[in-house]
């Protein structure tokens, strides 16, 4: 197996080795801990073993429609990676928060036209008569992978999660809301709930249609972003942690946020990777501590100076 190249970020995709075989390139794209595969093929099915580890982008991807793709209601931007005849792969970026992308019931909408549905990973259920079929599925987060060459297949991997540039302190609401959506992978409704706004309102903040949140919500947007960037910096699967991690009180971190308890969430976040800790409930309840009883050694005697003896 010959190493053909390693992608370290989206920006490196153009550095893929040239003259890729037309019959296939495998690409895994990691986006904040989620591996998103974009598959394209005129075939009616894929070989599942090939898809278990790596994303497969067939050489005929060049024939597929590049543009906007919808996956289970989530918008995914698909960009051509190369203008050369030998297309080496596609870049898929979650352009909007989505519901969890399940392997089941994903739909491809290249150029806003639904052309296919997928019943399982890479397995298409509908007619495959359309040559530009597209399918996508998420994989579990994958750490570093080796770049290998298989017969008739070139493998390229993205080793690191693409880092997002820190937002400027004067970033507009749209940038902050978009970044929150990207980092959490939560939908507008779920995020709107945290800020006590309708789904449409959060969507309009995110897309820049509305730029006028109340002062409190402006501050809260920044506050939540700070929390999320802290989590992202530690390679935490943010959405899973927010929704799945149940705290001592029985609430998830997301529910705690919904109740305004961001300080408790930040406290919990600080112990990620460590055994679960809980804040001392007596502090919050104002419960007086029982005084400790010290011995006779805990006495300061008045200083007696030499001159006074």
């Amino acid at each position: 197996m010959a190493v053909k190249g390693v992608l370290s970020s989206y920006d490196d995709v153009d550095k893929l080795p040239p003259a890729i075989r037309r019959d296939g390139v495998r690409v895994v794209v990691r986006d904040h801990g989620k591996c998103l595969d974009v598959l394209t093929s005129p075939s009616s099915s894929y070989l599942l073993p090939d898809l278990a580890d790596f994303s497969l982008v067939k050489g005929e991807a060049m024939h597929a429609g590049f543009g906007r793709v919808m996956l289970g209601g989530a918008a995914v931007r698909v960009d051509r990676l190369s203008d050369q005849e030998d297309v080496v792969g596609l870049k898929a970026v979650l352009a909007a928060p989505s519901v969890a992308l399940q392997p089941l019931n994903l739909f491809g909408f290249p150029n806003s036209t639904q052309i296919d549905s997928v019943r399982a990973i890479g397995l298409m259920t509908s007619s495959a008569a359309i040559a530009t079929s597209l399918a996508a599925h998420p994989l579990e987060p994958i750490k570093a992978m080796v770049v290998e060459e298989f017969p008739h297949t070139t493998v390229a991997t993205v080793e690191e999660t693409p880092s997002l540039e820190p937002l400027r302190p004067d970033a507009p609401v749209a940038d902050i809301a978009s970044r929150i959506a990207t980092l959490t992978d939560l939908g507008d409704e779920a995020l709107g709930h945290l800020f006590k706004v309708e789904r449409e309102t959060f969507c309009r903040w995110r897309t820049g249609v509305l730029v006028n949140p109340r002062l409190g919500n402006r501050r809260r947007l920044g506050l939540l972003l700070t929390l999320l960037e802290d989590l992202a910096g530690r390679d935490v699967s943010i959405k899973d942690w927010l929704l799945n991690h149940t705290t001592v009180g029985g609430l998830t971190a997301y529910q705690l946020l919904g109740q305004g308890r961001i300080d408790d969430v930040a406290y919990l976040a600080s112990s990620i990777g460590e055994p679960t800790t809980a804040r001392d409930p007596r502090v919050a309840s104002g419960q007086e501590r029982k005084p400790l009883v010290f011995g006779e050694d805990d006495v300061w005697e008045p200083q007696v100076l030499d001159d006074e003896r």
Binding site: N212, T226, G260, R261, A266, A269, S270, Q287, D306
Partner: protein, 246 residues
Amino acid sequence: MTVEFPRAPYLYREDEPHAGPARPLSQGDVFLDIPLVGPAQPHPRQEGTWVAPKPRTGPSALGLFVTHPCGSRSRGTHALNPFLSIAPVVKCPTNWGPPWEGWYEYFPLPSLRNGEDYVAKLSEVCPVPSAALEGSRIACLSGDGLRALFHRLAMNSLRFPETPLHYGIEAERLTTEINLWERWTSHQGSHDGFHEWLDEPFGGQAREDAEGSAIQGSAEPSGESRRAVLVWNREEVIEEMNNFLS
């Protein structure tokens, strides 16, 4: 990630609008003319004997309040403990300055007095009667200043290099609570009732319409106390206090 020392570490300073007596004494406050006790020294004539130096008082006796309120006040009455942990504050060594790297046993207090830099000596913290602090405060740290203090304390005690988000959130929570406490005391003449009010249920955050306006009557209590939502719902809690005090 380490903390860059904030540009504005003070909420109040002696030469700026001074923190009045209504503001409760809290972590990060700086005091002048308080009794500071230094480390014991060998007796000059009696071998094997140690003597305490004369307590430092007067205009050169400055100190920084280093303990979190949870550790320096009664949880029941919220009164200050009889003794508080105070780090002596002295003029900054001439060979140390911004960006204040290393020397984690010192917490910088730039331009604290008369444009001069000072440092709090975190390794020489001493107990000071809380009664001796009343009326002696000359500065308060801002939220950013508190966050930097948390970082210094952790570095000095544990060599913990990171600045968990918890530091920033806690600094904001603490600052907001003290601000509200000060406002209450200024208005009511005493802090009586403040903590009871803070522990009452929060009325909720009003929903916001697409025009960026609060929808009247849409706030629903979440079941949390005001104290529990101080950071996230600061504006709403302040509004509730305004309504209560008006």
